[in-house]
Amino acid sequence: MIDNLLTALSLLSSWKLMLTIAICSAYGLFVGAVPGLTATMAAALLVPFTFFMEPLAALVAIVTMEAMAIFAGDIPAALVRIPGTPSSAAYTQDSYELTKQGKAELVLGVDVMTSAIGGLMGAVVLMTSAPLLAEVALMFTSFEYFWLAALGLSATVMIASVSPLKAGLALLVGLFFSTVGLDITLGYPRFTFGSTELLNGVDFIPAMIGLFGVSEILRNMASAHLKYPITSVKAEQIFRGVAETLWKYKMNMVRAGAIGTFIGILPGAGADIAAWIAYAAAKRFSKEPGLYGKGAIEPIVDAGTANNACLAGDWVPALVFGIPGDSITAIVIGVLFMKGLRPGPMIFQQQPELIYAVYISFIIANILMVPFGYLAIKVSGTMLKVPRNILMPAILMFCVVGSFAINNSLFDVGLMLAMGILGYFFEANGIPVAPIVLGMVLGPIVEQNFMVSMIKTQWDLTQFFTRPASAILAFLTILTWLAPLIPTLVARMRRNAVSA
């Protein structure tokens, strides 16, 4: 372990990686602080660059960028009442109310410190749980992987913050995209319409750039010329009173860190859901629930800790099983495949230094968040004033060139555009886009493991339920499907008990 840590540290100490961390920190902070640009969009736009990087640099770039972006989303939430990313939405109202009371500095100070502490808590869980789970995962066969992916698909639908029905439809669309191209049993071309470009399937990267980049641009076009009033802030004072506040709510941070990390480990649930659940838990146990929504600092501590703790949690299933925890880790899995690496338990044995470097980069990113966050708050006025009617066309050109750069193909630019339109249409109708990406990643895992299992057992379905680990995962999957019915069943049982 010590050897691996030292190797990872020596790998990370190169000036190129330090430069990557610094650039990605600035990039993440900028994207997070500009309303309308999300961390997922930033990750999708980063992918064409990671194509030209070493695997380690690519992973470090994404880790750093996402940690910074999720924090930076708090800045416009406090200063202009618009969350920079969906992860800050839960406590935007409280942040802005406190800003109106002249406490913008305290809010931003608490934001940066809880983000860093939450991120570090998540990193500790990642470092301790991932190797243990990887040991267990070594015993898994195609049956367990099938159920694990099925569990991931089910959780994606059931944990969705919008309608599970709509999330399910989005997931089915993603799963359908994963079937395009040569199938794994006979090599038969499915849904290719004679196109040679589609024989290898729907390319993941242009699809993501379209779904998260172009669709965001289309959405932002309606308000691209708008300007918002920005509250000015004295960055030098942001740490004043923060220590007392954090000490007062220390147990809240522990609880929120645990909630955030747990939500992160669940496939399909990201930082936004973690923040909402931590907010709800904080209100449930608060001594002053009446203040929530009117300018309470407590929910900012809780939800601000949870959304950053969630990020490292998301990496646990991604690294250990190849099952993404959220849309960003779905992108990470795509990047690993692009680099010829297969996420799963074997990566812990074959390239432990890479895994340790990911752990350390989480720690570095969250420590750097404090000084970088301070600088971002200092220049927040300038960042928020960047005219979006100049920014959006510029981002569009990055999307176009980024999609082209992977295969040097204009077909991919067309694919990106089609996905952008689809993403825009879906979002406009309340259908979430993230399940499409999760479906595209999990689809081949489900199909491949199911078909392999069926062929090797000569179509004996009982094998999926007779192996102990497989049976447990099957039980959990079915439990996830039945979860929405449980409250109704419990209520009915209570009624029956009372009437009896």
Partner: protein, 153 residues
């Protein structure tokens, strides 16, 4: 572009049916076991089921979503802005080989900025400078073969 859940659900039912129909001529495995068609058929069936449920939900909740006024859509500024983006990317796809990235990229950026009310001179300068930077980054540093087109020299 928000349309009613009833219509969206019906769209998914139609898409599911089309996917299912497309799998009818997929080959089977030895012994008649389903092969390439199995997974898409399951997905298509679920899509029909979920889409149907969404439609029913939309009808039951008496979904009052404003119907899109297709005849007046051309007057909607958001729609026009989005159309500029779509037309810009399509024009890029069809013309970039001929005109080259430096010309076509700058043109697309300029036209969209102009549409978004950026002063034409400012838009022109930003488009040329930004596009040249993108070209330098991708073509010179990352070695992506961006077309030079008419600026081949």
């Amino acid at each position: 572009m928000k349309i009613s859940d009833t219509v969206v659900g019906a769209g998914f039912v139609g898409a599911g049916a089309l996917i299912f129909a497309a799998t009818l001529n997929f080959p089977a495995l030895e012994g008649g076991h389903p092969g390439p068609s199995l997974f898409p058929r399951i997905l298509a069936s679920l899509m029909v089921g979920f889409g149907g449920l969404l439609s029913i939900q939309g009808m039951r909740s008496r979904d009052t979503t404003d119907e899109v006024d297709w005849l007046r859509l051309y007057k909607n500024p958001s729609f026009i802005n989005a159309t500029f983006v779509l037309a810009g990317v399509l024009a890029y796809i069809f013309l970039v080989e001929w005109l080259g990235f430096l010309v076509m990229g700058a043109l697309v950026i300029f036209i969209i900025m102009w549409r978004l009310k950026v002063h034409p001179l400012k838009a022109l300068v930003v488009a040329i400078v930004f596009n040249t930077l993108v070209h330098f980054l991708f073509a010179k540093i990352l070695r992506v073969p961006l077309s030079l087109g008419i600026l081949w020299w």
